[in-house]
């Protein structure tokens, strides 16, 4: 037998009993709700359509017509590289820390303070990105200069730390750290959620067999939360890909493609490039920037799709 939603049915039965048709108020209200729901889908489609319509002229234009004289693909490729590099760096830095933070709140700190600690982590998500940008350039950047010089001196044989180290701190390295701090609350929120849902019987079973707390975490909590942590990491990655102001303010950009994280010249990101150039652009330059925005939209959408898909697959299991 099919599962019957009693609430909906009760409403319909009653409506039927009181005159055989749905009342006008009901009809209007339910249509209003449905229209609002559909509006959301239209809005999302609209974002894609309008960006596409406004970006298309730049994609089809010949290279000589575009500002800078490069074809669209040549223009967007280094930006896409910078975007992915910054976001990947941030994710690599943030995920282990976020897992540790989540474990600390769910399994190590006493339950009395855990809630407060959770609020503190959430506060990190509430800070506006412009403030992160100012903090990054005035506080973290200068503070990171000695660390970057040390990296250049001692680990300079790794391409990431090739140097010469920037003296201002306006580097990919600092951007990666700031973005990591910004996405930490998102990743750790997902991790916290799943860690706290680890079945008690597993945890208590492990401890009854004599496992220490760390062995219990390693053998029950971490395996249980693994796929959610992965999807949380991808949500964080998506956020880092699209983050604009912190990168715009901190990074000293040039059009180059390099893996050197601590140098003076860094690849820009799509979002930062839009924020830097858009206010002074006109004509085809605007279309070009919108087209890069469409590329960013596609990249983040794909990342989010994948993350949500992993989550929903996990839910059905």
């Amino acid at each position: 037998m099919a599962r019957v939603d009693t609430t909906t049915n009760a409403g319909q039965i009653l409506a039927a009993a009181s005159g055989g048709r749905r009342r006008a108020g009901d009809r209007i209200f339910s249509n209003l709700a449905t229209v609002s729901g559909v509006t959301i889908l239209v809005l999302l489609a609209g974002v894609a359509i309008f960006l596409f319509a406004e970006g298309l002229p730049a994609v089809t234009a010949s290279a000589s017509d575009l500002p800078g004289g490069e074809s669209f693909v040549d223009y967007v490729a280094p930006l896409a590289f910078g975007t992915v590099l910054a976001a990947a760096l941030a994710t690599i830095l943030a995920v282990p820390l976020a897992v540790a933070v989540a474990l600390f709140i769910t399994h190590i700190a006493s339950p009395r303070v855990a809630l407060t600690l959770g609020y503190l982590v959430d506060l990190l998500a509430a800070v506006p990105s412009i403030v992160y940008g100012l903090w990054g350039i005035f506080v973290l950047g200068p503070a990171a200069v000695p660390a970057m010089q040390w990296l250049e001196e001692h680990l300079g044989f790794i391409p990431f730390f090739e140097g010469p180290a920037s003296a201002t701190g306006r580097t990919m390295f600092v951007v990666g750290i700031v973005l990591a701090v910004m996405i930490l609350p998102i990743v750790s929120a997902v991790a916290r959620e799943v860690f706290s849902q680890t079945p008690r019987r597993l945890q208590e079973g492990a401890q009854a067999l004599g496992a220490t707390r760390w062995e219990m975490i390693r053998m029950t909590v971490l395996p249980f939360g693994k796929s959610s942590v992965i999807s949380g990491a991808m949500l964080g990655l998506g956020r880092a890909l699209g983050e604009t102001m912190a990168v715009t303010i901190i990074l000293s950009v040039s059009g180059i493609v390099t893996f050197n994280l601590i140098g003076q010249a860094n690849p820009s990101t799509i979002a930062a490039n839009i924020a830097l150039d858009f206010p002074e652009s006109s004509g085809l330059a605007i279309n070009l920037l919108i087209a890069t925005g469409l590329v960013l939209f596609a990249i983040t959408l794909a990342t989010n799709f994948l993350a949500r898909w992993i989550i929903s697959r996990q839910m059905t299991e």
Partner: protein
Amino acid sequence: MAPPTEKSPTGVELTTQPLALGPNGITGGTLPAWGQYAVIAGAVAFSVALLLAIGSFSVGLMLALTVVVACAGIYAWSRVVEGPRRALDRAVTLSIAAAFGLAMIPLFSLLFEVTKRGIPGLSAEFFTDDSRGVVGGGGAQHAIVGTLVITGVAVVISVPIGIMAAIYLVEYGTGKLRRALTFFVDVMTGIPSIVAGLFAYALFEIFFGPGVRMGVMGSVALSVLMIPIVIRSAEEVLKIVPKHLREAAYALGTPKWKTIVKIVLPTAFAGLVTGVMLATARVIGETAPLLVTTGVINSLNTDPLDGRMENLAVFAYSQYRSPGVDKMASYDLAWAAALVLIAIVMILNVVARLVYRRYKTEIR
């Protein structure tokens, strides 16, 4: 030490001895309760001494060294007394706690720096003056007003759509449309804010021509970011309204729409308000979408349909990006704007949680 003895009822003397599993009995030895604190204190002292000895002391290095030394110390000590498994447990626990501390450093550093650097720029002038025709200095009144207008319009757009969509999801939705909506709302939370700004620009450009800048464009961009947050939170609170309340209303012959308006929404009211406030806090500090839609301007504009409109986040950015002759004065203003912004966000967060705690309906 002699093993403890006791008399059994039969008069035979029993000897209770520790099980001979190891030198320390069944549980093994245990570090004293103060053990880990002693190790941490020792590690701090050791790090300070070492760094002072080699002459390169800095707080960051000291903390990093302390964590490493403390982890190694507690592992070594515990391994000797308690065995390798407990030792690893202690070392991992300590490093996880240290990782949490590390994650908190940016938060406290940021709050401290914003307060310290923001206060010099705050003055009566900051709240009452605009920066028209001023070279470095001036106030941010136009930006504060702009922030309130742009965000206010965004709230007016987002809240009805968001809450009605949540009502659809919880009360009416069935089948494919419901599933699609749930999925795409999640996807929509991941739209980069700059893309939302470009969307608003592309939308208005078609009607108003290139180079258009209006306050309401910013509101539309913010709505794209805000609607999914409102839906998510509204959905959560509508879901927990108990079914028996709805069924009681139906039993009295109340139409469904009236049940929702008179029973469900009032029950969930505190949660809805909290959700809207948190969503507002999330978008009020946005910079990027407003940079491409509302633009930069130095004077007061209160009409969202008429031309450029300044906002606090964009104000902070442009004071930093193109400072006046007196650079420090501009930077002070940027920090002051950041401080005001962060204060607004924090207040919204705190008040939202207070509202929920104070006014939520007790559901039994």
